[in-house]
Point group: C3
Chain length 347, copies 3
């Protein structure tokens, strides 16, 4: 089904306009019961348009109302709610229709709670959770099935571990943190010293701190620190399968897309956007408001806000092969170019 | 042990030839009890050769029979089964000897099945599985230990979740789908809007649909859609640690190797091959029968079938450094080249 | 807290010097109770310095003692322990202060142990573990909560599966192997043959062998072999989210940083260092003592020890775009350069 509605929530266009600060063009009494794509929406659903490539779908939509920019109003065949940022407005409206029911407070009988663990009365602990001695679960926290919370870990108020989340050791989550299945926080940082014959492991004696309102994606891993903590400030948003090495620090409101990775002791500023599968080497610093495009590598500090990339363009493989072979001798070609220029000057 | 045999399965060369459409050269009564590499095989084992670099091992093999191309028959010291595609023939033969015993139907006493869940009588539910209200497990489905099946999820007939698979919300698996441990399907797509100060999360109201006979590797993640579903057609094969963003569509018979990643709303055609750690950016379309080589990035739509790459060649690091430094000024060098050519024309 | 101490361990500077082969400069009777960073350490804590960029922090440290090189002794305001390799010495000293308490031998009442499984009396099995028939857990092994050990798997003496580790089938761990949460060993290798219409799966009949003292990071996946085993020799160190394909062989003392990946049948030598997110294609061989820098791709065999790279430099995106566009025609530019040189010679 591509329409999403619930018996529970119905709201009029008038109320939508007022509540979310939009300007209504249309019948204020029309009732909206859900959200949908422009193509699939019916008269009781709301759609939105933020990208001009969907204008064709706007022209034929049967939606009850569409959130859009002033610029697109003239071409809208339905009622409209004008917003400066339709995508943001849609995000807020759609939240009304989300059906996610939170489980009631209480501890499932199969949860194993150690004697030294503290679980607030208002927390919800799902089936097969294991909470170890010294762990603290605060009020309103929700742990889905199969979560593991190790010693010295704190799950802050209203935080939610969807299912199968592992907090290994000394992981402190702030309030309203959301963590998706398979994530592992607080595993050993990768600290090794070679003694000439074999590796010697450095104990990882720090922890992990995650700020309020942060979100950690499925199967993402965040290692605990060697001495100090690995730190995410507030409202940090990590997608799936991200790797955060020990003692990394990530500034508030930074978002990282799937499969990106940050090596140990790197420091990322605030309001940064790190693209999918991008990489950040260790022991460097990225300033605030830096955007790193997908599949790019940050190998030294970035001191200026702006947009950066290092990914290479795709080509048919026979053509790519010829160019790749040439790349191996690029320095030589430049020297030959310089020599030619010199000869040109001399003659 | 590098030979694999079981007391259960024995088959004659005559039967192998007939059953799998191969031409026998050798004693039809010889019994085969297992498969092995050419180097390790004994007289009751079957080997195969598909790559000429193994001809030395063919010459000295003690295998009871070898599957090979007509081209290699003359050099084979053992009985032979000639096939046009020895690798494919081997795949079918080896399946006879796999010992994987499926558990009997029934629900392990430790499984937690919500009242609103439906589990077919012929399904098998392993220890510590959690099946939530509104989930459906169809006949012949097998869930190994520690699986979690969330609301609105369907596990189609004969599908198998090996162990520790998480289906979060609105994940619908077709028939005979195979999912390996640690995979997470149906977690929230990475939808965020920035309101000037902080991130606002877009509810992800869609689901995931996986077609018949598809296979999903260990620790692979497939997010559910924002409105429409994220869709894998039939016989899609995903290796380990792959990330599939929300609203991606993957065409039938496409295979993706480990660590590849597809960003939201990308559409991949049928019969595509996506190499290890390759990437596909969002909101683009890849035609049918496109091969993307390992470690390459698709950053715009690919409209023609064929093979594509963008990976860079490895070099000793001092040489690489010189070439990488030159790359940063490539545009300037080309302009200097053009200027030289012009000067050449003018003089 | 950035200092780490325990009531249990106190050691004098004299004992530290003697036990770890360092030369003491200072009062031998001073007691050390923990380790800390130079910035945070107090008079009963030990710090270390190995990187000259921290000299400022050495000058102002309040640590009871600092491990350092002879070269830095003069600038040290505290007692000092001189070592040739301060990082290695610190690793050994810090291990004294690690508080990780191992659970006592015994099987948690919630563990599901199949009849055909063998668990040594001295092993420790945590809550919700599932040990299947034919699995063997040796003496002193420790399985944290939620581990799954499948048929034919062996957990060697003193090995530790921290929590939520999956050993699928025929995984044999040596002694003192350490595996972090979410790791999956022994899942199916990615073996597929195409029959013209659809994929046919090759049964993966091999296993995984992991040598003594190896370490496997969180959410790392190691597939079992098609016929022979996938093999890690002793003291192999894998970080998080690494993917090891079927029939890979990794030599002793090789370390791989997070998110790296090795395709099937590749062979990596001993004492190699594979950087973060580096890749190794299949069916090739890397010699001993090869270092592959982060985000680089090994696409053909490497026969000489040394350091190799293929990653590209980061640039502001408008500059990057110009250079990337030029790269697509690099072969043509080189031909034009060569033509110019020829013209120069001719004239």
């Amino acid at each position: 089904m591509s329409t999403h509605s619930t018996n529970k929530t119905t709201i009029s266009l008038a109320d939508l306009a007022e509540r979310f600060g939009m300007t209504l063009h249309g019948d204020p009494s029309v009732q909206i019961e859900g959200v949908a794509t422009l193509a699939a929406a019916g008269p009781a659903e709301l759609g939105f348009i933020t990208n001009s490539k969907y204008l064709a779908q706007l022209a034929t939509t049967r939606a009850g109302v569409v959130i859009l920019r002033e610029h697109d109003l003239a071409t809208c065949p339905t009622a409209a709610l004008v917003a400066a940022d339709p995508y943001l407005a849609y995000a807020k409206v759609a939240a009304l229709f989300e059906q996610a029911a939170m489980p009631p407070p209480g501890i499932h009988p199969t949860a194993v709670i150690a004697n030294g663990a503290h679980v607030a009365v208002g927390a919800s602990i799902g089936p097969y959770c294991v909470i170890e001695s010294g762990a603290v679960i605060e009020d309103g926290a929700v742990l889905g099935p199969h979560c593991i919370v190790g010693p010295g870990c704190v799950v802050g108020a209203q935080s939610r571990l969807v299912a199968r989340v592992t907090l290994v050791l000394r992981v402190v989550l702030g309030r309203r943190v959301l963590i998706h299945p398979g994530a592992v926080l607080g595993a050993d940082g990768f600290g090794l010293a070679f003694d000439g014959n074999q590796w010697v492991k450095l104990p990882q004696l720090g922890g992990v701190r995650v700020g309020d309102d942060s979100e950690i994606g499925a199967n993402t891993t965040i290692d605990r620190g060697a001495l100090e903590d690995t730190v995410l400030e507030e409202d940090v948003r990590l997608d799936n399968q991200i790797q955060i090495g020990h003692n990394v620090k990530i500034g508030a409101h930074t978002a990282m897309a799937g499969c990106s990775a940050v090596a140990g002791s790197a420091k990322i500023g605030r309001y940064c956007m790190i693209g999918a599968a991008a990489g950040v080497l260790g022991h460097l610093e990225i300033a605030d408001r830096v955007t790193v495009l997908a599949w790019s590598l940050v190998s030294s500090s970035v001191t200026e806000a702006g947009e950066y990339s290092s990914s290479m363009p795709l080509m048919e493989s026979h053509k790519w092969r010829r160019n790749a072979v040439r790349f191996k001798h690029l320095d030589e070609y430049v020297r030959r170019l310089t020599a030619l220029e010199k000869n040109g000057e001399d003659s």
